[in-house]
């Protein structure tokens, strides 16, 4: 059985001065599930690439030390033979599906290895069933939803029957429903096969309980390693490393300073159980009687502010006949920090595209700063509502940051001195000084994202719409992005609309939340109002922040249903137990 062994491995990509991996030593054992976490740029993907030989055979660079899969030194083997033992799943499902149908996709790997036809047919049948792809066999994989695509990509490596699975952020590009699905497939896989699994993932909450070992990487090194429960005792420092540590773990590791007998929970249910036992024995008598009367004050009511965007019975039907919006009526006020949450396909993007005229209503009305958005030109609306796309690479179209920032104002045919003033203002505000002459394509993803936002801001819109700015980023980067929008909101008075899948960020940053489902806004209000409606939220397969659900599960102890942060929960508990 193939163990994966790293012996003092360092690796530097060609053209880089800093090594991506620094002296990594690691051994996985048969049947073990290893979770690798760490901030972006820590070297997690580089480590994965070493296992199936992409490094050193595809990526050019300098490799020191030795990587072994079984007894095979990766240096002397090939990517294709290594992949037969250690198969790899990548982050973006759409760039690994290369066959015209789901059936061919799953058969592709075994075909390449010359597996007999009958055997392939039975493997495909197995995979189709276990990954719930029945009835999809003859469809183009690219016509499936994100979660289905990744399930198909996973099925396609399961059919290769590898001894080691290397899964590089398999859910980072997916919506909550899709990542739930893929995570459940992974969990079944780790139970049913005795294969080794090496998973790189930010979503610790859903995975930790089935992981044997957690490895934390930072700046090319392994900085912490161990059994998950042990590691979570210091949840706060893990959090500081940029890991999205489960909120219950954060809470418990803080409470352990009050009472060291508390056990760190690995699952949500454990946490609830552990806490009820704890509260039953520690809660002060008078605290039990206290009803949950306290409604924590909202960050804003804001109903007196001026309405700047209004839709009335907005219906949108795409040419192909898909009904994307079914009668949306809403008001957005100046100074809102609005989060729109919902699954892919629930109508979020379709809705906001009406605000700058990229889409026109099929029925109903949209008014933006008093303009009729069904008639006003995109150009006119784009000076009111700036729209930043999810992927900056769909937007960047010039060879210098300076030109990129000038692009919008030039399209508006503004005078040259005005253009330069705007570029200067935005450069200073966003901190792009010193890179104005650089080619944006050479900058990192995070920087490209900021450049893309900057190039929208030079249009001086009153409203900034950002579409999934944090998808595929680690928690720390996501927070930096959100802090940045908060600054634009607080200091420059922008109205910000963020489309996001991250409930914790919505709860912490927004002052208003819209929940969309099936083309309708089914909930709207302050985060506290919205996340208190746990039943409605669950119907959309979204989950309120873990800490909110935690408080709701413990409502018999008088916790309010609208706790939003670990801090709040901590003080709620402290109130009840004293100390």
């Amino acid at each position: 059985m193939a163990d994966v062994v790293f012996e003092n491995v360092s690796y530097t990509y060609a053209g880089d001065s800093e090594p991506a991996l620094k002296n990594i030593s690691l051994r996985t054992h048969k049947g073990e599930t290893v979770l690798i976490a760490g901030p972006a740029g820590a070297g997690k993907t580089t480590l994965c690439r070493c296992i199936n030989g992409l490094i050193p055979h595809y990526f050019r660079g300098h490799l020191e030390g030795k990587v072994l899969v079984g007894d095979v030194d990766t240096r002397t083997s090939t990517i294709s033979s290594l992949s037969h033992m250690a198969a790899m799943l990548f982050q973006d499902p759409s760039s690994q599906l290369v066959n015209p149908t789901v059936f061919d996709e799953i058969a592709f790997g075994p075909e390449n290895y010359g597996v007999p036809r009958e055997e392939i047919l039975s493997r495909v049948k197995d995979s189709v069933e276990s990954m719930r792809l029945k009835g999809y066999e003859e469809r183009n994989p690219h016509s499936l939803s994100g979660g289905e695509q990744q399930a198909c990509a996973l099925a396609a490596i399961v059919s290769m029957r590898p001894e080691v699975y290397v899964l590089d952020e398999p859910t980072s590009n997916l919506d909550p429903i899709g990542s739930m699905r893929v995570l459940s497939h992974l969990s079944e896989l780790s139970k049913s096969e005795n294969a080794t699994m090496i998973i790189v993932e930010h979503k610790l909450e859903e995975l930790l309980h089935q992981v044997d070992r957690l490895i934390v990487m930072q700046e090319g090194r392994i900085v912490a390693e161990g059994e998950p429960r042990k590691m979570l005792e210091d949840a706060e420092s893990l959090n500081k490393l940029g890991l999205k540590t489960p909120q219950t773990a954060l809470l418990f590791s803080r409470l352990r300073k009050l009472d060291a007998t508390l056990k760190i929970p690995l699952t949500f249910d454990d946490a609830v159980l552990e806490m009820s036992t704890f509260l039953k024995s520690h809660m002060k008598v008078d605290a039990v009687a206290k009803p949950p009367e306290r409604v924590v004050s909202d960050r804003t009511a804001g109903n007196e502010r001026e309405t700047i965007i209004r839709t009335q019975d907005l219906v949108h039907v795409y040419e192909a006949g898909t009904v994307a919006l079914r009668g949306v009526s809403l008001e957005i006020r100046r100074g809102d920090f609005l989060a729109i949450i919902g699954q892919n396909g629930s109508g979020k993007t379709t809705l906001v595209k009406h605000f700058n005229g990229l889409l026109r209503p099929t029925q109903g009305t949209v008014s933006v700063f008093g303009l009729d958005a069904s008639k006003a030109s995109i150009r006119e609306l784009s000076t009111k509502v700036g729209y930043c796309f999810q992927n900056p690479d769909h937007q960047i179209c010039t060879d210098s940051v300076q030109k990129e920032l000038e692009f919008g104002p030039r399209n508006l045919e503004l005078p040259e001195d005005e253009i330069q003033i705007r570029v200067k203002e935005v450069t200073d505000a966003i901190g792009l000084q010193g890179m104005l002459d650089d080619n944006p394509f050479n900058r990192s993803k995070g920087e490209r994202q900021r450049i893309a936002v900057a190039s929208v801001l030079t249009m001086k819109p009153d409203v900034l719409v950002v579409d999934e700015p944090t998808t595929g980023q680690d928690d720390r980067m996501a927070r930096q992005m959100m802090d940045f929008y908060t600054k634009l909101h607080n200091e420059d008075g922008k109205t910000v609309i963020v489309i996001t899948h991250d409930m914790n960020l919505a709860a912490e940053y927004a002052n208003r939340v819209f929940v969309m489902w099936n083309g309708e806004v089914i909930l709207s209000g302050s985060p506290r109002e919205v996340f208190a409606e746990s039943e409605t939220i669950e119907k959309t397969y979204l989950k309120a922040p873990q800490i909110t659900r935690f408080a709701q599960a413990l409502k018999s102890f008088g916790f309010p249903p609208n706790v939003l942060t670990v801090d709040e929960m901590y003080s709620e508990i402290k109130q009840r137990v004293g100390g």
Binding site: S83, M88, F108, M160
Partner: protein, 257 residues
Amino acid sequence: MILTVGLGTDPIYLGVVLLSVLVVMRLAKIPFSKVTPFLKGIAPVVVMYAIFNLLFPPIATDIKDPYVFFYLIPPHTLPISLEGCIWTIGAVLRFLMILLVIRTILMITPIRDIIITFVKLKLPPEFALALSIGFAYVPVLIDENTKIKEAQQARGWRYEYRNPAKRFNALLKQMFVPAIFNSMRRAGDIAIAIESRGFSHDIAKRTFVRQLKYSANDYLVITVLLVFLVGGLYMGTWGLRWASYINVARMIRQLLL
């Protein structure tokens, strides 16, 4: 079959063949609503093709004294002649027919079957894979191009210029740069993905799950098609010169005079 018979240049004859294509499409139950957007899309190309053929018909070698209506640049440059017009009608009909035939084949044959055919013809698997990737990514690329266009429009960009040169320039700069950047990166990702699934492991020993078995009918159709091909070539190009536009032109000319 239709393709080979279409080797002629006689517009009446080609018209009949084009009709037969439409009949085949009817038989294949392809609704015209699915074809009209396609025809609209290619209309500019067809018009360009027509103008080009009208201005530069290859009639000089065939006909010594064409019946000239007028000269576009008097006195003797760019003649518009009866023979040229008839040639052009034939050329356009043939062009339309070829496009419709290809469109029909793609609509009624799963991409998969086309690819297996390549495998059956013993073409290298790389060839079939390239084709397969090409087809698989069509929806992805369409989606990506829409996003790129919208991202630029959201920053006040315009491309709907009347002047085709200006329009082309705008599209070239603001659409193609991100499109090419993304495609190149995707190409790298795809290369990694197929390598990681063992594509170049041992191509000679590769298994092909999908198998195409020829039945007696298939062989019959292949034979008939080959006969048509040879016959068509003989009739049109090599020897008899049947179904040539020259005959029609001669007829009309006699009627006119």
